[in-house]
């Protein structure tokens, strides 16, 4: 193929157009796939506890996603047209391989639309007794179809990275399932499911924050404070396992192609992970800050306040370690002055084991913040509360020590080849801390005494900006990681099979990518505000006297 095989439209840059549309479609798609997941869980919690507040909150969440659903479909259509217009040969090639799944994808949209509309419009109709079960079943169906749609689309994306069922020259052998079930399909599926939930939580958190700031009375403020808390909880719950899903995806990427793995983690993309560290640092800091502000809702939380500053110090230090670059790009004079490409003292923090240690500390201490918040207005009444606390302290101490030992040993006392070997045991240690502490806490605080009531709505306005920061950082981060996922294919449409011969075949640099991601984020935020506004006006009724003719 040559440049002439790529149609152009005057004044439109094909790649930027497709990039922006695909990214917007993905942001909205992630949101509308994620929201029904936690709406389903919240509705089920409401059914189990018979607490109507959960039902109302679940309904409000799904209401927000309804308009976003239409926008997702519109952007999906626009993406298809853009691909047909600007990349017809690539689209033809992919269509020939994935014709069956593409047709199924289109048909599944009907099923998803039907499930979503029945779920949403039938919410107040299907209430109580068996009807509620029927309603919940539609929620389950909606989630099943939503995930299936995402998995199908993921297979087309991952095929472009790790093509299967084709020979070295790209000729398809006819095995559609093998093409779908390519090497990176499942790692990306897992990563996207977890990331979508965290992302969906952050966007509805921003919605709740906006409504909180605009609340007219105490009741509204309390309602949206509670909604914001739950949204942040959802975002953090998914944010904690997200780095593990990321590790898995990256490890599989290396297993598939070392060349692709090295391109991802080294060379021009190496600095991308410093930007990623800034964004994830912003995510963790904002999520923790919101939790700490939330402790002001109950007088019972004051006893934990002195400890917060230590958690904050650990989180900031962990963030700075993660932020430390490994190799610096320096001028000759700077190199001479520094004595090499690594800083004398800070250079040791730039390697992967140090960063893995920092990330696991970030996760463990964010979980600690959440545990303090959860205990804020409670006192355990079980006879073994002291022992339980001691076990938890021992668990944290031993776990954190283990993470440090693993990081130091693998980082500084082993061969280079084994440097990443610390990551899996470190991750498992953090998971043990989180899971075991949660189990102990659940039993220890069963029937706990309430110290002081939770005063929903008693939150400073500044705390709500933490929720906005969470949503903005997440959106920008998704855009950035989308760029690198696609960028590691370099000058290939389909890695090693179908070369990109267009004038835009070059790999864009980080600054260029940051420009596009920023434009995309601003467009997305504007569209999301539009969605929020629509969901607000849908509940308004203006009574205009004298406008309508009086009926007899």
């Amino acid at each position: 193929m040559t440049e002439a095989d790529y149609p152009t439209i005057k004044g439109v840059n094909s790649r930027i157009a497709v990039w922006l549309v695909a990214q917007l479609h993905l942001w909205f798609g992630a949101f509308v796939v994620a929201v029904p997941m936690f709406v389903f869980i919240i509705e089920a919690i409401g059914m189990a506890t018979r607490d109507e507040r959960y039902d109302n909150m679940a309904y409000e969440f799904i209401k927000v996603s309804i308009t976003a659903y239409s926008l997702t479909a519109l952007l999906g259509g626009l993406l298809s047209f853009s691909l047909v217009l600007f990349y017809p040969d690539l689209f033809k090639y992919l269509s020939m391989i994935f014709k069956d799944s593409m047709f199924a994808y289109a048909l599944l949209f009907f099923a998803e639309s039907a499930a979503l509309y029945i779920y949403y419009y039938g919410w107040h109709w299907l209430q109580g007794g068996n009807k509620k079960w029927v309603h919940l079943t539609f929620g389950l169906l909606l989630n099943a179809v939503g995930c299936l749609l995402m998995f199908l689309a993921n297979s087309w994306t991952t095929f472009m990275m790790s093509p299967a069922a084709v020979d070295a020259a790209g000729v398809f052998n006819g095995n559609t399932w093998a093409a779908i079930h390519n090497f990176l399909w499942n790692p990306l599926n897992i990563h996207r499911v977890v990331a979508n939930v965290a992302y969906g939580g952050s966007v509805v958190g921003a919605y709740a924050a906006f409504k909180f700031l605009s609340a007219k009375n105490k009741e509204e403020r309390a309602h949206y404070d509670w909604m914001g808390f739950n949204a942040n909880f959802i975002a953090i719950s998914a944010l904690l396992p997200l780095p593990f899903a990321g590790y898995y995806l990256t490890a599989e990427l290396y297993a598939y192609s070392q060349q692709m793995g090295i391109t991802l983690m080294g060379g021009v993309f190496a600095w991308l992970f410093i930007i990623q560290a800034v964004l994830i640092g912003a995510l963790f800091l904002s999520a923790n800050y919101y939790l700490w502000c939330g402790m002001g809702r109950s007088e019972g939380a004051y006893r934990y306040n002195p400890r917060i500053k230590y958690i904050a110090i650990v989180i900031v230090v962990a963030f700075l370690v993660w932020f430390t670059p490994h190799t610096l790009v320096l001028t000759n004079a700077e190199l001479k002055s520094l004595g090499g490409p690594y800083h004398q003292y800070l250079g040791v923090l730039g390697i992967m084991p140090a960063k893995n240690t920092a990330v696991n500390f970030l996760l463990a201490f964010t979980f600690l913040s959440f545990m303090y918040y959860r205990r804020a207005n409670k006192i355990a009444t079980v006879s073994w509360a002291t022992t339980g606390n001691a076990i938890q302290i021992a668990l944290f101490a031993a776990g954190l020590l283990n993470i440090v030992i693993l990081g130091v040993y693998h980082g500084y006392f082993t061969n280079t080849v084994y440097k990443v070997a610390a990551s899996i045991p470190q991750v498992l240690t953090t998971l043990v801390i989180i899971v075991a502490s949660t189990v102990i806490d659940a039993f220890m605080y069963k029937g706990a005494k309430e110290v002081a009531p939770m005063r929903w709505g008693r939150m400073p306005d500044r705390s709500q900006y933490a929720l906005f920061l969470l949503a903005v950082s997440f959106t920008w981060l998704m855009g950035l990681m989308g760029y690198v996922r696609s960028g590691i294919r370099q000058h290939w449409h389909v890695s090693g099979i179908f070369r990109d011969s267009s004038p835009d075949a070059f790999t864009p640099g980080l600054g260029y990518a940051a420009n596009i991601v920023s434009i995309g984020t601003i467009l997305f935020m504007a569209m999301v505000i539009f969605v929020f506004w629509l969901s607000t006006i849908s509940g308004r009724h203006a009574v205009v006297k004298g406008y309508w003719k009086e009926q007899a």
């Binding site: 040969d89 070295a168 020259a169 605009s214 930007i275 900006y465 099979i497 179908f498 070059f506």
Partner: protein, 184 residues
């Protein structure tokens, strides 16, 4: 309305901060342009120039230096010295008789012999992770393969046995991509 403006300004400032850091807070490295079919002038080609061409291909078009550091793939500074030993190894499945033939084989059919410890995970060193350098992924032509062999022979201190192709020799094209051809 005030809240809307405050929230919008805050969000824009955050986006601006991320954008600014990405553009001015880190070094801007321009990724290499996609490798093209460079015209090789063989009329004034000396062995020195031919080796330099091989070095350039090794570093850039082939991206060989990314892996051949001793971490993910063996260093190549002793490959010629070790070639005889490798060809006598029971695990060797090739037919090469000379160092040059062995190097060519290793580049075009890397799985014929995998240096212990550098095979694909789970294959017990029977399958190499290295692609065929004349395949679509790397895309070397015949002249480029010869230049790469000359460079590696020079790098590993071996006698350079490669003959510089005569001017006008058509470079045998790499394997063409047939993406788009599907079984009906």
């Amino acid at each position: 309305m005030i809240n809307f403006l405050k929230v919008s300004v805050f969000s824009l400032l955050m986006v601006g901060a991320f954008w600014g850091f990405s553009n001015f807070g880190i070094p801007q490295i321009k990724p290499a342009d996609p490798p093209g079919e460079a015209k090789i002038d063989l009329s004034n080609m000396t062995m020195e120039k031919f080796i330099a061409l091989g070095a350039d291909l090794f570093e850039n078009k082939g991206d060989c230096a990314l892996c051949h550091t001793g971490r993910r793939a063996p260093k190549l500074n002793k490959v010629a010295a070790n070639a005889d030993k490798a060809m006598k190894d029971p695990a060797y499945k090739g037919t090469a008789k000379t160092v040059e033939e062995y190097l060519r084989e290793s580049m075009l059919k890397p799985s014929l012999y995998v240096v212990p410890g550098f095979g694909k995970k789970g294959t017990n060193d029977t399958e190499s992770p290295m692609p065929d350098i004349m395949g679509a992924k790397v895309g070397f032509n015949e002249i480029e393969v010869l230049a790469a062999i000359a460079y590696i022979q020079d790098l590993s201190g071996s006698e350079i046995t490669v003959q510089i192709p005569k001017p006008g020799a058509a470079p045998k094209a790499p394997e063409a991509s047939k993406a788009g051809d599907c079984k009906k």
